[in-house]
């Protein structure tokens, strides 16, 4: 087991190295980063140096003057000790901005994951136990509908119904206009109020996948021999399903949910942007659109790490919860 984990970790580092290089090379080769924008604006000012001269000067200032390969190794050298440089767009250290924003995203992700589990798993089990019934069809079609909705369209619909027509929530942002005048509890509820729609949106769009996954696995379990045995022993249907079947369905569920845990830190890029929630996703979106290389680099490598970590966790969990699985 330890050997497997070490091997996987080493492999992950290698993969990460190349992923980082691809991203870095792409960002550096695009002629539209933040530096180019500044150089262009500055060169347009009267009596200014030419664009090329500004570029030369700014490249040195921002440490972008050694080629792509050299620059990448320089970046790695700093990144390994946790120094991701200063964000150009936010003009603060990248890690500081990250700490300011990531916890909001994490809370949003966690709450929506909890709701997702609460809603999707029971519905999935229900659909599987009543296979081919009306309930099953309704749940299946519902789960397909939730995965077919584009985030922006669903968010717009939510805004139209709950913000515009019912006036329950604000359209954008994390805090209301009178936030500063509120008491501590008022501030908490103000933020909570602003997070309702984004979390609803996140939850709704993600339950479909988990619901179908639960249903498929539950069906597989229900068709297995030991369930038939349990039934033939004359156990009640409730015992069969919740004691024998559901517990075995948990095996794949635990692995997939465990694997999705690192993803809680990645933030919801689109949802946060649509609701202008200053989590890591929205922050990164602004930085990326502005061509902020240090921040974008950090965010994308961070996402890659989370993906690798998620895969590793689900593989390990798979072996942990299911003793039949042997890891080579």
């Amino acid at each position: 087991m330890r050997k497997f984990i070490i091997k996987r970790l080493l492999l992950s580092v290698l993969i990460l190295f190349f992923v980082g290089f691809i991203i870095y090379a792409m960002m550096r080769l695009l002629p539209t980063s933040y530096i180019e924008n500044i150089a262009y604006t500055k060169s347009l000012q009267p009596n200014s140096k030419s664009y090329e001269e500004w570029m030369e000067q700014l490249s040195v200032t921002y440490g972008m003057n050694n080629g792509v390969v050299g620059g990448y190794f320089q970046w790695i050298g700093h990144a390994i000790v946790g120094d991701f440089g200063d964000s150009w767009f936010y003009t603060v250290p990248v890690t500081q901005k990250f700490h300011e924003t990531v916890w909001l995203s994490f809370v949003m992700g966690l709450i929506s994951l909890i709701f997702e589990l609460i809603i999707a798993i029971p519905l999935g089990v229900l659909a599987a136990t009543k296979q081919y019934s009306k309930t099953d069809y309704t749940i299946s079609v519902l789960s397909f509908i939730t995965i077919s909705f584009p985030t922006f369209f669903f968010a717009s619909l939510l805004k139209l119904v709950f913000s515009v027509n019912l006036g329950w929530f604000d359209l954008y942002g994390l805090v209301g206009r009178n936030y500063d005048q509120l008491s501590a509890i008022g501030k908490f509820f103000d933020k909570a109020n602003h997070l309702v729609l984004p979390i609803f949106c996140l939850t709704f769009l993600s339950i479909g996948g988990l619901m179908r996954y639960t249903r498929t696995n539950m069906l597989e379990v229900l068709n297995s021999d030991y369930i038939r045995t349990a039934r033939s022993k004359g156990l009640s249907e409730g015992t069969v399903i919740y004691k024998h079947a559901f517990r075995n369905t948990l095996i794949p569920l635990v692995t997939i949910v465990g694997g999705s845990l690192p993803g809680l830190f990645s933030g919801a890029l689109i949802t946060e942007t649509l609701f202008m929630i200053p989590g890591i996703g929205f922050t990164s979106y602004n930085a990326m659109v502005a061509g902020d290389i240090p921040f974008s680099m950090f965010y994308m490598v961070f996402l890659a790490i989370l993906t690798l970590l998620g895969n590793l966790i689900s593989d390990i969990l798979y072996a942990v919860v299911d003793p039949r699985v042997r890891i080579a």
């Binding site: 492999l11 290698l14 993969i15 990460l16 190349f18 992923v19 691809i22 991203i23 792409m26 960002m27 695009l30 002629p31 539209t32 924008n37 296979q131 081919y132 069809y137 299946s140 079609v141 397909f144 509908i145 995965i147 077919s148 909705f149 584009p150 985030t151 922006f152 369209f153 717009s156 619909l157 805004k159 139209l160 515009v164 359209l171 179908r212 249903r215 498929t216 069906l219 068709n223 890029l269 689109i270 942007t273 990164s284 979106y285 990326m288 659109v289 502005a290 061509g291 974008s296 965010y299 994308m300 996402l303 890659a304 993906t307 690798l308």
Partner: protein
Amino acid sequence: MNEQDKELQQEIGVNPAEEPEVKDENIANPETENLDREAIETVAEQEAEQEAKEEDSGDEEHLSLNDDRRVKVLSPGMLVLKRFFRNKVAVVGLIILAAMFVFSFIGALFSPYGEAQRFYRIEDIRQPIGGAKVITEVVYDSPSGTPKSSLTIPAGRAIKLINLVYEGLPTEKVVIDWETPAKEREITSLPYGPITQSGVSYTIQSNDTVEYTKGADTFTLTRKGGFYEVIKDSDLAFIGYTYSLNAIKQTDEMTFDFKVAAFGTYEDLKATSTDSATFNVGSDVFELNSDGEIKKGGEDYAYIMSYNVKPISDLDFYTQDFKEAVIYAIENNPMLPGNEKQFDYVKEGETEPTTYSLIYNAASEKWEIKEALPSQVYDKYSAPSGAHWLGTDGHGMDMLTRLMYGGRVSLLVGFIVVIIETVLGVIMGGIAGYFGGWVDNIIMRLVDVFYCIPTTPILIILGAAMDEMRVDPTVRLIYLMLLLGFFGWAGVARLVRGQILSLREQEFMTATEACGISAHRRIFRHLIPNVIPQLIVTCTMGLGSTILIEATLSFLGLGVRFPFASWGNIINDVNDVYVLTHYLFVWIPAGVCIVLTVLAFNLVGDGLRDAFDPRMKR
């Protein structure tokens, strides 16, 4: 007992033939026979669909082979189709898809409008038609038009000097503000000077004359009230005045000589408090009264005003009456909110008065004259009507037509991206799975790398970069498809490799090897076809998710760009809160189209999976 139940029984091994009800009811019905056969074939299929036909003959042994028992054997493809069409949900998906294709690809042919055809409507919009201003600054004029600023700047300074002493010598020290730094000077006696500024030296000769030298030239500026003459070498070089001279008829041109004579005489009248005087320009005789009205041969010819009232267009001409109405309104009418004054004026040949507004601009001290004129504007956000069934969008284009073309783009992008993904994925996955060893290792690490690359952020960055570089929309569309395909092949490669790894160990592959078939043929003729069922399912589902990604990018303004329509960029308008709340017809239909299409692809994909592999049924 419905069909699904039968299938369930097939799955758990109950032979429907043993069900008495079914047997009794449908004993002579070939349909039932087919069902029975299918149950058997399903078992056969589990071995390998390719060999289904051969294995059929083997399976038939435990049935009687009498001709009356013999039924038509369905090919594996037909079986899949049959099973697919039995799935109602999948059929609904297929119908939606077909409808979407007809709507997008054929509907656009029948639409009377083009993809980027704009519509207009006539609307009364207040437009600036002219301006009015109290003349506070000296206007310069010379025989050859407005003199150069190199001439007027010293003249302006000379005028400032002369104004200091015009009413007699100043009793206090005066500040000459145009000197740098501004200087305080005491002018006690005339002539005074020289004062030098920017290489020009000024000398105040008398209380209405300033002489100044610039290089070798000497200019003499004489003041007559609000009228200034600048003489150089005893010739009149240019004049300055603080009035406007307006012709009664548009055809009469106010010549330089006429201006000189008119202003000169006007100032003389004012100085001497005479009521009228005459002056000659060439052979013409003009009569001027103290109100500034000039007559030629007893008829009104021109008039002098202290306001400058001018139309914006040279083709327009304001009558004296209108100009006086403007001036009267400026001086007497109450100020409305927004620095606005209004007045009514009956245009010549009309009976109803027209309302004009005067908007004051404090920075330029100008009044802008505005009139509500019918103008052609884009027919933006017009509500659904007979001409535009779904109304028009923010560019004044027909919504329904945009939706059709948008569907084309969205579906095309989906298909092309999935084709790119599949081709790349099948080649890479096929090679990796078949050859194994170090080739497999390298390719799979590459797959891992691509799996790890966060696609959405990268596409956002590239989209923003393409925005910045102003990439042509067509090129952009192609880039978008290539990029989406390039970043999406890893999943397909993994699937194909996994399938091939398990297929490679099966007997039929050993047989192909024994037959000495070339590697190329073995991969592409024997392995890949067996992967195809899985591949079709993945592709169908992939189409849905690709359309979602494309729509999201276009919605953020980073994907398909105007003039191309795509369902995503049609909804883009919803970013404007006013559109969100008031123009539902602009963004709801496109959203519904996306949801329906993606849903349909998912349903069909799911149906196909069940049809291809009944063991995996949901």
